[in-house]
Symmetry: C2
């Protein structure tokens, strides 16, 4: 439905572009959501984008601009008049402006800062320096500040006067003369309050807050836990520096999840989108773990070499190795994934390890027995495998599944205990470890039962 | 920091409980966030929870109650006075009430409904029937509705009068006499507008909206795309039935991500937390895919059987099989994960498949060459492997990585084209396919070069 609507919008815009019917195009554009226009930009070529951009009214232009990717932003900046550029940059919220400037070449920033007022220049430089993924890098400065001794009615008047340029007016910040954060008050409270009530009496004191250097993952956790709309960021002396709004947090949550997906598939995390990332960068992010895992897998090969004599006298044993290794790896990945996710969502804590271990042990017995039974029946009915081999394979399968699930559930918790990221203890690494374990179990049992 | 604070809160509450100092405990509790109190409940036993619950003031009690897990909710319901229960249920937002009722036994609901007014009984029954994971199951009914011919000032008066019971007042819904949704207007617009402006003139017409049966994933996507705070849900005749608020969407996003993690690790998805899920359920969610993959892996074993003669004349070849299979599986998982995630976030579309294929092909050549070189040097310097074998292994490694990355990137896109969930084409399945491919490549090359 959504997709169809965007496609329709695109088709109609394309038609008007082709007909050079700019008057109707301008009218049509003015009725669209900025984010929908930005999405159509992905489908158009550079010249078409610039035509459309010039047809937007100024306020729409700034918002559309904030949704574009860095490449399109650069194209537009280099082709619009300087006065329009200044208008747009002034109209952007501060966090979007910083995001844009971060992608621009140094000399562009220098030129832009040269003409900016002193205070703005200082702020831009300060904000450009916040670490990626820190609370500071998510902040904006367009918030409503109030004094505690005014009334709710006066506060509403102030919001009416100054609110139009603020990113949010739904949470207001109560500051003292030194800009120290005393509390927050929601617009909801202000509207519902009696107009004579003092801010001091209705504000939430000791609000949840973070420092500029705090990690964005902590920020996202606080938003989720306290159902926040916005979160104040303070410096060491508790002075308000900026606020973080919930729209940016939705992106942070997806970004943190993407990083976990990447780490769990043995890649170094990246926050660039796949389509925009170059081949060399993609290769570089993947090679390190592949190398580590390849070298580890050679040890598994050496186990085979050690049992060469046994194998050459019963080559049939070979045929079951992929099934045993794969089943072990898959069973281990399942456990590791559940535990890593449980830790990430705060559902599983370090102290829960005995609970987890005992649960996984019972699950692995059930699953292992089921797999071994299915496989035993398959061998019995469909192949002429010798009884000794069938028993060896079945016992190995159960023990491998048990070992895999224990390794898969304990390693992420151990990583957490060692203050490593549990996400690295996922499928690929678990598989490599379980491969070796399963072969040792297999050959040991075969040695006892068959020779 | 967060964790330490909860632990501290818990310690202090426990101390006051042990001292039976209920007066101070009551005062202390009144200053805490409800969600923090609910978190401490996880650490206390049933009797202690009930004592604390009774010490809460009534409004806090309802909010704490909404944060508790189903088990604790049941314990509390069975131990508090019926009048308090009714007070709490009345104070809960409708979506929280439905979530609670869904977990309660049928006779409890029946008893409760018996004493409820007719209209509420009808609504509860209607809401209990919405499909899990549908927009309907996320709705609440406490919204502000406005008529289009009133002024902004009158609207603010209405909000002042009725807003205290609404889940959000930040987006208001403009309805006609038949409750058809004409538009939305934000509290921001109402506050900033001139008091005499008509709602009709300032409302957003054609607002983004969904139907009750729409999937929660679509709902979450709309929230992310349009930076919404709330989303209206309408019936077939465009009449407003309820609204969805952003706090519930944060949970939906995490839940959808969890499901993807589970599917990608070859499990059937579950939205229950690990700790609360029983061993049998856990085993059941895992066994299906393990069985499918185990049977598939037997085919890989049969490839080995077919080349038994070749293998027994060069048992050394065996030693490289785990390394080749693992590296291929890992390389394929990397590609599959990136593509699945890209599709989920809307960054990669069906039509992008040639771009993806070409990119993965180049990445795989780079990565394959790097791995083969590293492995060749290792063999050359550390082992006395024959040159023919070294060459066979190196060529196989490059070709396996290329095949793995192509399979890993194309299968998720193919799944999408077939309207299957791309997430099932992840690590485990890719590994099984790539295992077979790598062995066929290996034995073919060995047959040509070595015999």
């Amino acid at each position: 439905m959504e997709k169809a609507r965007v496609a329709q919008t695109h088709t109609f815009i394309q038609k008007l572009l082709d007909e050079k019917n700019y008057k109707e195009l301008k009218a049509y554009l003015s009725g669209l959501y900025p984010v929908d226009i930005a999405e159509v930009f992905d489908e158009l070529d550079e010249d078409e984008c610039i035509i459309i951009f010039r047809l937007l009214n100024k306020d729409q232009a700034a918002e559309v601009f904030s949704y574009l990717n860095a490449q399109r932003q650069k194209e537009i900046v280099s082709s619009i008049h300087e006065s329009l550029l200044h208008y747009i940059l002034n109209d952007l919220y501060f966090d979007d402006k910083i995001d844009f400037l971060e992608e621009m070449p140094a000399n562009f920033i220098k030129k832009l800062l040269a003409s900016a007022p002193h205070e703005e220049r200082r702020l831009i430089n300060q904000f450009l320096n916040y670490q990626d993924n820190s609370a500071g890098s998510l902040m904006t400065i367009e918030y409503v500040d109030l004094k505690k001794h005014i009334t709710a009615g006066q506060a509403l008047e102030r919001i009416k006067r100054t609110g139009v340029d603020k990113e949010t007016i739904y949470t207001c910040y109560v500051l003292d003369e030194k800009r120290k954060l005393l509390g927050t008050v929601s617009l909801r409270k202000l509207v519902l309050a009696n107009g004579h009530e003092l801010i001091d009496d209705i504000m939430q004191t000791e609000p949840v807050k973070v420092g500029t250097a705090d990690d964005q993952e902590l920020v996202a956790d606080l938003f989720k836990k306290y159902d926040l709309m916005a979160l104040p960021v303070v410096d060491g002396e508790d002075r308000l520096i900026g606020i973080i709004t919930i729209d940016d947090i939705m992106d942070v949550i997806e970004q943190e999840n993407t990083e976990d997906f990447q780490k769990m598939a043995a890649m170094q995390p990246s926050d660039e989108s796949y389509v925009e990332t170059g081949v060399l960068t993609l290769a570089r992010k993947r090679i390190v773990w592949l190398l580590i895992l390849m070298v580890s897998a050679t040890f598994t090969g050496e186990i085979i070499t050690r049992y060469e004599a046994l194998l050459s006298s019963a080559v049939l044993l070979m045929a079951f190795i992929p099934m045993l290794m794969d089943s072990g790896g898959n069973a281990g990945s399942q456990s590791a994934t559940l535990i890593i996710r449980g830790i990430a969502l705060g559902e599983i804590a370090l102290k829960d390890w005995p609970v987890v271990l005992w649960k996984e042990f019972r699950v692995s017995l059930l699953v292992g027995a089921a797999l071994a039974t299915a496989n035993f029946l398959r061998m019995l009915l469909l192949t002429g495998t010798a009884t000794g081999v069938m028993i060896t394979v079945s016992i190995t399968l159960v023990l491998t599944i048990v070992a895999a699930k224990i390794v898969g559930s304990i390693l992420p918790i151990a990583a957490k205990a060692l203050r490593l990221d549990p996400a690295i203890m996922a499928g690929p690494l678990i598989t490599t470890i379980v491969d070796a374990l399963s072969l040792i179990i297999y050959f040991t049992i075969a040695g006892v039962l068959l020779f």
